[in-house]
Symmetry: C2
Subunit: 232 residues, 2 copies
């Protein structure tokens, strides 16, 4: 139904095994999201192919896919690299999230199962238990994307994932710079959001979610050092 519970951005694929290009695209996404490949870094087709024991052909297809997702830039005969984003770009992407994600949540809400709610509760408890920064980033992402997992509109789901992916690196940089402080605010917002979702109150859920993203954006914009030397 949606891409949200899958390798992050890949189409639902009925086939027993995904085509190599899809697996490679998934790997590249993960590598960029995790910071293994950092902004500014170049991606050589041969390296990726070698890593997968495949030829360069499916790698090229994978690169075209994630290029269309905005995860890499590429130019003819000059190769592909992970783009650096400016502070303003990330700020606008957060504004896009602020406008799109409440809509995704509203579309998702009627389709969320009781089991989804239990899983959300479990994730939130693990967030509150409070492990390391890497763990928090992953759990927070999992939490929000799960709330959108019922959204039946592919265009909307995939754009939301795309926006998360584009800013993931800067979320991590932010966390590492500022430390885990203010997490209680996030937890309080998650709790309010969770409550609204459990009541299937779309209006309330949208309002809390919008505020949540908005506050994150403002907090981020107060730390321009996250983007130092990354002007495109």
């Amino acid at each position: 139904m949606t891409t949200l519970t899958r390798p992050a951005g890949s189409k639902a694929n009925g086939g027993p095994e995904n085509a190599a290009s899809r697996r490679i695209a998934g790997y590249l996404r993960e590598a960029i999201l995790s910071g293994e490949i950092a902004p500014g870094e170049r991606i050589r087709q041969e390296d990726v192919a070698e890593r997968f024991g495949a030829s360069r052909l499916p790698v090229r297809e994978a690169l075209r896919m994630i290029e269309a997702e905005g995860l890499i830039d590429s130019q003819t005969h000059k190769g592909a690299w992970v783009p650096r984003l400016s502070g303003h770009e990330v700020d606008v992407i957060y504004q896009m999230r602020e406008r799109l994600e409440p809509l995704a949540l509203a579309e998702s809400l009627p389709h969320l199962t009781e089991d989804d709610l239990r899983r959300l509760e479990a994730i939130q408890e693990r967030i509150e238990a409070g492990d390391g920064i890497g763990e928090f980033l992953a759990l927070d992402r999992e939490f929000h994307l799960l709330t959108y997992s019922g959204c039946p509109i592919d265009q909307l789901s995939s754009m939301v994932v795309r926006l998360w992916n584009s800013t993931q690196h800067y979320r991590r940089a932010f966390m590492h710079l500022t430390g885990p402080g203010r997490r209680w605010v996030i937890n309080a917002e998650h709790r309010l959001l969770l409550d609204a979702i459990a009541r299937r109150d779309a209006v309330d859920a949208e309002r809390h979610l919008g505020g949540h993203i908005r506050r994150t954006r403002i907090e981020l914009s107060a730390h321009p050092e996250v983007f130092e030397g990354t002007a495109r």
Copy 2:
């Protein structure tokens, strides 16, 4: 700076000639947008390759690109086809437009030149002169995308184009079913929008644009016959 004035969705490419895959992707976009390839129809790699006098390889890359844009669906070993959208899907896409395009306009506004304004005026005059339906569709698209052409955020620009592309076929179907009626409403809205843009009044421009898209969406939702037999 942005993709809006280019073949609709392709990255800015410094190279003297675009790679074949980009040209083919551009052609496929155009073919789908113009209705030459209709929703439900399948796309065979060999056909496209033959048409370009190229091999299937760049065609496959092009298909991956426009797949990531949501213009086609594809499954391993089963091929690619233009998806049919339900009325609800198109409705939600219009809601996404309603939320994203005012943001794109606000980001674009400070960067629009006096020459852009003159071109907008000229386009609007041609719209009011009122040619055929096909002409109107193209001009209306050109008008709006030109108002966003100053937007320096690639993610935002490309998503806006993508949303236009996804619904283009249904806009045409709608026009053909209902005729050109109510065009004076559109013209009035365009004039108000143009005025706000000329005054560089972002708040006013956003409000008029949002209302414009909203009214179009509601009008469209009143004609479910546009989507008859197109349930996915």
